[in-house]
Subunit: 150 residues, 2 copies
Amino acid sequence: MASSTELLDQLLALSIMIDKDLTATLGKDGLTLARTHLLWELHRSGPVTQQRLAAVLEVSPRNVTALVDGLVASGHVTRDRHPEDRRAFLITLTEHGSAAMAAMAVQHEEFAEALFGPISARDRAATARALDHARTRLAALMEEHHGEGS
Amino acid sequence: MASSTELLDQLLALSIMIDKDLTATLGKDGLTLARTHLLWELHRSGPVTQQRLAAVLEVSPRNVTALVDGLVASGHVTRDRHPEDRRAFLITLTEHGSAAMAAMAVQHEEFAEALFGPISARDRAATARALDHARTRLAALMEEHHGEGS
DNA sequence: TATTGTTATACTCTATAACTATA
DNA sequence: TATAGTTATAGAGTATAACAATA
């Protein structure tokens, strides 16, 4: 009968499993979730400044410095002076980083297909509606809490 | 049309939001996700040893020591000598910890109701089917990877 | 000899505050 | 004066390895 609470618990259980699986998979390539998130953004946007990355990833500039340090060391990105603003750096994917993101895009689709492929179109549509509704509601709730907090 | 990939992305986006909201909410009570997870297990099982907690939470015994240290300091649990095994400790919820978990159970249901309450029974059932299927498939995948790894 | 938990050590993610170089 | 990024400092979560006390 799927009560709201059961649904939430199922969602959380699945999230935790995905997180664990992803962490293990990335770990084999010497990557972490946080660093991969940064690489993924770079893949989507092209070269950007660290300030920009901090805004998009919603983490502190200090944190971006650390993440980029690691990714430079692992050869996934380069940190070059910005040609027009000598205060800033441009973070750019190396070939290695690009290849890793291209492979990840493929894996991502395969993963999605493995998890949800065999499900009926009708159930997929219903699930999309439910998740979308939950996301909208949660965004509203967080907006309220934000108001309270400040 | 909700492709598998779109569904996965929606799921991931919602997971991240829930995680963020939960972290913020717990933070107001001086709790963290990892410590709350431990408290929740204690709430379900009653007093147990650290070894037991390490197994259930799937983290290292060393990590449990650190988590319990924090929870003792915040007054959520007590660490008492096991009456029958002098090597071990029994971790027990204090009244404060019990009250926190009782309140959390209520909040959890309210949260689920806010997110999924307004969704039709039919869509909830379809979502439950989809999530359950994904969980089962993922468990199988992880089992395979585990075999490869070792 | 096996188990329970700790100390020692280390890595990652995260944040704030103070500071430097540049705009 | 404002912005980009770093150094300094700190706390949480996580892990392995070596060790103590007890079984």
